[in-house]
């Protein structure tokens, strides 16, 4: 075991997988000598050469489309979107192509491709360098979406994504990159995509969340413990498929559910989670299902006080849990 940062876990997973399997290559903007604008691919071009760590032209649709073509004929591309905010020019290639090639050919053709993208706010990024984009993809059958919160989960899930025979969107929270550190085993391991994780056991309120918000929720839970409120914290880790069992189990356990995500509320991932609970565990509930999320505005402002206002934090989360506990 070693202590690694969240971003080191990314780099380690990439390097180890590329060592293991020659068909894996990286494609993205500035992933080469620059090592990525966040340095997630640092050192890889030196190790694997510019044939396998490709600085692509500034063309997201080509990055994804070319990856799809390469994946169809047997390669395993790991494409990088420099920021999740810039994934939309590739939306057609992801939604119309990557997600459907298996289905439309009954698995005659498949797309074993991973798309990595840094997402999330709180980094002075303004409208277009702070976004969470999962809500714009979670409806799409044929893709998987992973959003890990810890270095351990990052490494195990990124390896699983790369080995998966279907397209996986792998969203990494920018704020976590250097902020979050944790133990990572030295041995090779993977984590099953679609399985959540209880990050804290509790009995009063169940919080269902993912990404940076897991950490904020755990902080809130610490504070609340002193007040005598016990919080059950589910880290979804994957947004698609969702770990329905863990969600239902968590809802039944406390009867009070708070769904937390950084992204805006309306039409967010929280809606689906709430609907699943309302469909399958309604009579186990002791309080309305609550969602705590970002405001429904088109983006996170650059203005520092406004960015702070937009972002959730442990205090806001603790308040919401407290309210629910007292319900």
């Amino acid at each position: 075991m070693a202590i690694k940062s969240y971003i080191e876990a990314v780099t380690d997973a990439l390097r180890e997988e590329m060592e293991r399997d020659e068909s894996i290559f990286i494609l993205g903007e500035d992933v080469g000598v620059r090592g990525g604008v966040f340095r997630a691919t640092a050192g890889l071009i030196e190790k694997f050469g510019e044939e396998r760590v490709i600085d692509s032209p500034l063309s997201e649709s080509a990055i994804v489309g070319v990856s799809i073509g390469a994946a169809m004929v047997g390669m395993r591309p790991v494409a990088e979107m420099q920021f999740a905010d810039f994934i939309f020019p590739a939306y057609n290639q992801i939604v119309s192509e990557a997600a459907r090639i298996r289905y439309r050919t009954k698995s005659d053709w498949t797309v074993p491709m991973t798309i990595r993208a840094p997402y999330g706010g709180g980094i002075h990024g303004g409208l277009y360098h702070s976004q969470s984009v999962e809500a714009l993809f979670h409806h799409v059958p044929g893709i998987k979406i992973v959003m890990p919160s810890t270095p351990y989960d990052v490494k195990g899930l990124l390896k699983a994504a790369i080995r998966d025979n279907d397209p996986v969107l792998f969203f990494e929270h920018k704020r976590c990159y250097r902020l979050i550190k944790g133990e990572v085993p030295d041995e090779d391991y993977t984590i099953e995509i679609g399985k959540g994780d209880v990050k804290r056991e509790g009995t009063d309120v169940t919080v269902i969340t993912y990404g940076l918000m897991v950490h904020y929720t755990l902080e809130a839970a610490e504070v609340l413990e002193k007040e005598g409120i016990s919080t059950h914290v589910i880290d979804l880790r994957s947004i698609k498929p969702l770990d329905k069992e863990l969600i239902i189990e968590g809802a039944k356990k406390t009867g009070k559910v708070l769904i937390v995500h950084e992204d805006g509320k309306f039409g967010g991932v929280g809606g689906e989670i709430s609907a699943i609970i309302a469909e399958e565990a309604l009579f186990d509930l002791d309080a309305p299902i609550q969602r705590l999320a970002g405001p429904d505005v088109p983006g996170m402002p650059y203005s520092p006080p406004q960015e702070k206002f937009y972002m959730l934090n442990p205090t806001k989360i603790a308040d919401a849990i407290r309210k629910l506990a007292e319900f």
Partner: protein, 331 residues
């Protein structure tokens, strides 16, 4: 009539007859689709008629044992050359088991099939361009000699994916052939409203690789230029853009009525240059297509089309619940 001498292009008598065979087979299958559609037996047709020379000429220049093609919806000629059978085609038209393209899931014309080295295509146009570039990138990375061929219509060449794919391939000097079948219309929209420069091959200049606008009614010319492009690609010299100038002899699809937007005179004039008629005449003039051979070919094609139609008509449909399978890998 072709201005090329097939022998000078290194083609044998048998090969040119074979080319003609595929052109005619594509045409006859296509004509049958329309009959089936008008009889209410298949809901949708999208046609190759008028573009057979462009399609057959190009794909004949490829190596179907190692190359990949990512064709577009009109490319019946291409997929026949790459090995799809009349039965494959008819199963697809009827959306029945045996359809190698999509197993009944997609509309006809959405080609594919791993065993034929045909990448799966969809409806949003030009998405296949980056895919072909990806296949070419893989070939280069693995040191394989294979070429990726992809085609689209001239209207579709205005999608962003055209540009992004072309530039990407140029940067990496990838073994890919971009082929535009310029048939003068994007559904109803004529060239004047589609393109600032009617010659889409001129775009190659901007990417730094060769571009050729060629006579798409001349199967030998299409063969010649594609052959050269494939050789360049195999030699590591990078992509080529080819525009084949053709004409769409029928409406856009079975849902279209082209009388609203083009004159009958224009269509009639184009029919005079029907590549199948002109190539047949060329072959007759060269003494290659004898009356006996022609009869034989017509008979065998008619038989193949009839049998394939019968088989497909009689085949059962897929089970309804089968629609739920193959969303993700099934283990």
């Amino acid at each position: 009539m072709s201005k090329h001498d097939y022998k000078e292009l290194g083609l044998t008598e048998e090969q040119v007859l074979n080319m003609y065979y595929f052109m005619l087979l594509a045409r006859k299958l296509d004509e049958r689709f329309w009959l089936l559609n008008r009889a209410g037996k298949i809901p949708f047709v999208i046609s190759c008629q008028g573009q057979e020379a462009a399609q057959v000429g190009a794909t004949f220049a490829l190596d179907k044992t190692i190359d990949y093609i990512a064709p577009y919806y009109r490319d019946l000629g291409c997929v026949l050359v790459f090995g799809q059978t009349p039965t494959d085609i008819m199963m697809s038209a009827f959306a029945k088991p045996g359809d190698p393209n999509s197993h009944g899931r997609q509309m006809p014309g959405h080609f594919g099939g791993r065993k034929y080295r045909i990448l799966s295509g969809s409806s949003p146009v030009t998405t296949q361009f980056p895919h072909a570039v990806g296949a070419a990138l893989a070939a280069k990375m693995r040191g394989e000699k294979s070429v990726a061929y992809t085609s689209t219509g001239e209207g579709s060449s205005n999608q962003g994916d055209f540009h992004e794919a072309a530039n990407f391939a140029a940067v990496h000097k990838l073994p890919v052939i971009f082929y535009v079948e310029n048939n003068g219309y994007a559904i109803s929209v004529p060239l004047d409203k589609q393109l600032g420069n009617h010659n889409t091959a001129d775009r190659a200049v901007g990417y730094g690789f060769p571009g050729h606008s060629i006579d798409g009614n001349d199967v030998l010319e299409c063969y010649k230029y594609t052959k050269e492009a494939a050789e360049r690609a195999r030699n590591g010299e990078g992509p080529t853009l080819i525009e084949a100038r053709t004409y769409r002899l029928v409406p856009h699809s079975s849902d279209d009525d082209d009388r609203a937007y083009r004159s009958r005179e224009e269509v009639e004039a184009a029919k005079q240059k029907d590549p199948i008629l002109t190539f047949a005449q060329y072959l007759r003039d060269k003494g290659v297509l004898t009356p006996e051979k022609e009869q034989e070919m017509n008979d065998s094609i008619a038989k193949a089309v009839n049998e394939a139609t019968d088989e497909a008509e009689k085949a059962p449909f897929f089970d309804p619940e089968d629609a739920l399978t193959h969303v993700y890998e099934e283990r």
